[in-house]
């Protein structure tokens, strides 16, 4: 289980946790989206600048555990410059990977693969999902014409399923 621990807190994760990417607030944000896990107390604030259907810049400020911070930091790094559709596909990939499905993570999303170890800690899965759920919510309301969104993974209780 020390192995398990090291599997969860991989060096890549600890690196993102110690120096999270996307910390700088944006001057001009097209999307603001907040997320939280009331039960865990993780909180996230996100700002996105869009260029039509593409994420031009993104700011992620996550107050939470190493997993949620690292996941948000990876998100900031990866999604910048990607079109909405692709971001959605990646979010879905992350979700399925964390639920324990056999998914291949492409090389260019390499850091995300390091979140795989979180599977072994069911209670922590929602921490890893928070940033992604928050961004997906934000993109949705952007498409719907709103600017503000909020998300929660608190009740994402699938980890209890057998």
């Amino acid at each position: 289980m020390n192995e398990q621990l090291d599997d969860m807190y991989r060096e890549i994760i600890l690196d993102h946790y110690r120096s999270p990417r996307g910390r700088k607030p944006l001057e001009k944000a097209d999307i603001k989206s907040d997320g939280s896990n009331p039960a865990c107390g993780d909180e996230i604030e996100m700002q996105v600048e869009m260029d039509n259907d593409t994420i031009k810049d993104i700011h992620v400020n996550c107050k939470g555990c190493a997993i949620s911070v690292a996941s948000g930091s990876m998100l900031a790094e990866i999604t910048k410059g990607k079109p909405i559709d692709e971001v959605r596909r990646i979010a879905e990939l992350v979700r399925r990977m964390l639920k324990g499905e056999q998914v291949e993570i492409p090389d260019d999303l390499g850091d995300i693969d390091s979140l795989r170890g979180v599977q072994q800690f069911p209670v922590r899965i929602k921490c890893a999902l928070l940033a992604w759920a928050t961004l997906v919510e934000g993109l949705k309301s952007y498409e719907d014409g709103h600017k503000q969104a909020s998300a929660s993974t608190e009740n994402d209780d699938d980890e209890h399923a057998e």
Binding site: A39, F121, R124, D157
Partner: protein, 425 residues
């Protein structure tokens, strides 16, 4: 097997293996006991069943190796306990024929499950002038909550009557279940008469009128295969302790859309999302209905009871009980003057057999049988209105389960005969 008794016909479609009664009996440590110097003959399973070693050991193992509070813990024990608790939920969902795990709520028992519905769905949906339909054979658990709710809401409580033979009398059903009916709440099997009710058929009638249907499965779920989807009911309730499981655990199945709309019942920890001094939001299903620390150890051990029943096979259990019920009714009928309640035909009933002696009060029957090591129940069986309709103040009730055999019935019959000599009436 006794040769002096005609065998009850076995349903043609029953290809299930027979129970190995010697092995089954050996699984129940309490049956090893001598009561009043005699072998224990336990014929009170309709009140509560005995427990096999696997269930007792599951409790012990839980406390020895896994015990922790669930759902919010991040440590090893808490995760193991949570997984074990949720495993039983998934198992119960399967046991009922395959429902969603979010549709399975843990309660203390059937009584609490029914009260939960009355306090939440009932409180929100029953209005003045609405009609709640029950039957004349309900256990107080599926009766008193509706008497109270009807009084409170100025609603009307109607009963489906019973026939002389102890079946539901459906001759006037179209005047009982009407467009004013908001709820049909009925037992799937009577704990006094043994009668198995046509739940699927009545559910169809009730649904046509737009009513919601709750089936009380406390006596049925332990003894026959259950498929709530086939029954078509909206709510289904049963108790662990009557089906080899520990006390303190009940199951409420509720159709997801209904549960989602319902307000919570008890409130507190585990069932909330966000809490402020002036507002609260609820957790998702099923947690919304499980406030506070549940009976974790017993929920975990209930899994072992379900597995035990499934390994024997619910079809096999039903077949065994039908045969034994037939044998018991036949032998009891041979005692002159003894009056047996409920249907005679084993296919139409379960193994709860109520009877009265014209001269000996059920209490005296019970006390006498007890002196011979035979445990039955005597009284109104939490069904006072039914007893009144039967014209009885009490009955004696012998009820069967997987660990009973013909020798148990023979012991009962012998003691009943001896009893008459003893009381000299």
């Amino acid at each position: 097997m006794h040769t002096n008794t005609g065998k009850v016909p076995i349903p043609a479609d029953s290809h299930q293996p027979r129970l190995d009664l010697v092995a089954v009996k050996a699984d129940f440590p309490i049956l090893d006991q001598r009561i009043n110097g005699r072998r224990l003959v336990y014929l009170d399973s309709a009140a509560t069943s005995q427990k096999p070693w696997v269930v007792i050991r599951a409790i012990t193992d839980y406390y020895r190796k896994q015990n922790a509070n669930i759902h919010r813990g991040l440590h090893f024990l808490a995760e193991r306990a949570t997984a074990a608790y949720e495993k039983t939920r998934a198992h119960a969902a399967n046991f009922m024929g395959g429902v969603q795990r979010e549709e399975v709520i843990f309660t203390r028992g059937t009584t609490e499950a029914i009260n939960l519905i009355a306090y939440t769905w009932g409180e929100a949906n029953i209005k003045e002038g609405d009609e709640i339909v029950i039957t004349e054979m309900e256990h107080h658990a599926n009766l008193v909550p509706w008497v109270i709710l009807a009084q409170k809401k100025k609603a009307v409580l109607k009963q489906i009557p019973i026939t002389f033979c102890g079946h539901l009398d459906l001759s006037d059903i179209d005047n009982i279940i009407t467009p004013r009916t908001k709820l049909l709440a009925l037992t799937q099997m009577s704990n006094v008469l043994g009668t198995i009710n046509p739940v699927a058929k009545l559910t169809e009638l009730a649904h046509k009128q737009g009513a919601i249907v709750l089936a009380d499965g406390a006596q049925a779920a332990p003894h026959m295969p259950i498929d709530v989807k086939e029954l078509g009911v909206d709510f289904y309730a049963f108790s662990s302790h009557k089906m080899l499981g520990p006390t303190g655990v009940g199951i409420l199945y509720g159709r997801r859309e209904l549960l989602e709309e319902m307000p919570p019942f008890n409130t507190g920890g585990e069932m909330i999302d966000e809490v402020h001094f002036d507002r609260v939001t609820w957790a998702e299903l099923p947690h919304k209905f499980e406030a506070g620390t549940p009976d974790i150890a017993n929920v975990v051990a209930f899994d072992a009871a379900l597995t035990y029943l499934e390994e024997l096979g619910l079809e096999s259990i039903r077949r065994h009980e039908m045969e034994l019920t037939g044998y018991a009714i036949e032998r009891l009928s041979q005692i002159k003057g003894l009056e047996i309640q409920g249907p005679r035909e084993p296919a139409q009933r379960g193994g709860a057999i109520s009877f009265t002696d014209p001269n000996i009060h059920p209490h005296d029957i019970s006390t006498f049988l007890d002196s011979r090591g035979i445990a039955i129940r005597a009284g109104h069986h939490c069904a006072q209105p039914l007893l009144r309709i039967l014209g009885k103040t009490a009955t004696a009730r012998a009820s069967l389960y997987i660990y009973n055999d013909e020798a148990d019935i023979d012991a009962l019959i012998e003691a009943l005969v001896e009893m008459r000599r003893y009381f000299g009436v």
